[in-house]
Symmetry: C2
Subunit: 203 residues, 2 copies
């Protein structure tokens, strides 16, 4: 699945402007696969009876709805809202799981602007009540996906509030996070990490 | 907050048709308060550090989006989707909670058509994985709200599939459910029932 470094880049630059735009778009879509792969992994977990984890729908503020006779209501005007919690939650081995997935095309860090303050607050609350909360972070270009527990995230988050660095660096994530293995049925097999780190002890 | 029996009813019947329509509409809105009251109770639980329970956004299938320059994306065509899980979930005392809220103007039963088969399937999965799943049912006219655990719901659900009655009768809910007390800060104080029935044992 990995391309030799730069091969993709040189392919793009040989295309005309318009095609290049389209191809870059396709590349952007490839960058959007983390969420899709987690949803697929969750489906596998669900069907195999391992866990019940769902993605929350994106909240939408509906302004105008039409009710045509004999057919479904049509939303005519609505706006995306900022989610006040995380993207995914559910239950695994009796534990409440709650996490957010982020991916970046950066090679060296994930900017903290990707994470909202109310999401961090929510994650803290989850752990205070006995749940498990974490980030799944993908470095698209490296094709590496990490599970970063809440604790190291909080360290960087609080340092940022005191004027510290405004991103999670790749070496930091590599040191404090766990590389999520690729599995054929669960492409983002994060539950294997949950087992090692949270359920069977460790860290 | 409780009116003498029938007083509300007689007030409506003395109104003209048109007014009556409007008033009934307002009455219908009053019927929509259960969800709102649960959301408010959840806010109270959240702020007081008791539990973290959120309503999931209604899933919407977006067909067309406009991206005006310098302003937020506008959804121009979208449709409501059937939720595949329940309305509410979260964590309380380390336990995963997952439930659905239903209200009815019927006096004698809640029709099972109010509950989708995939929701029942979801609720069963939650309990299989060690979570707590239940219904909150309000009889609007009686002004009574019950917590009905999954188990009695399943009994009626499975009998229905074999040709049994297609509703949860009021006497059945009264017998197998728990009347949720009204509290000033948590108007639907279902966590008090969770404590009695699930956390501190009982039933």
């Amino acid at each position: 699945m990995k391309y030799p470094k730069g091969s993709r880049q040189s392919h793009y630059t040989s295309l005309s402007n318009k095609q290049s735009y389209k191809t870059n778009d396709a590349f952007a879509n490839r960058g959007m696969t983390l969420e899709k792969e987690i949803v697929e992994s969750n489906n596998y977990y669900l069907e195999s009876g391992k866990a019940v984890i769902h993605k929350k729908p994106t909240p939408v503020q509906v302004v105008q709805v039409d009710y045509p006779k004999r057919s479904a209501a049509v939303i005519k005007e609505a706006y995306y809202q900022k989610p006040s919690t995380t993207d995914f939650n559910g239950i695994y081995k009796g534990k409440h799981l709650d996490f957010e997935a982020k991916e970046t095309k950066n090679k060296q860090s994930l900017p903290l602007t990707n994470i909202h303050p109310h999401q961090v607050k929510h994650m803290k609350r989850i752990e205070q009540h006995g749940g498990i909360s974490f980030l799944i972070i993908r470095f698209t270009i490296k094709d590496e996906t990490y599970l970063l527990p809440l604790e190291p995230l909080l360290v960087v988050w609080e340092q940022q509030e005191l004027g510290g660095r405004k991103s999670l660096s790749y070496p930091f994530i590599k040191e404090h996070g766990y590389l999520i293995p690729f599995q054929l049925q669960a492409k983002v097999d994060y539950l294997s990490i949950i087992d090692d780190v949270y359920i069977n002890g460790g860290d």
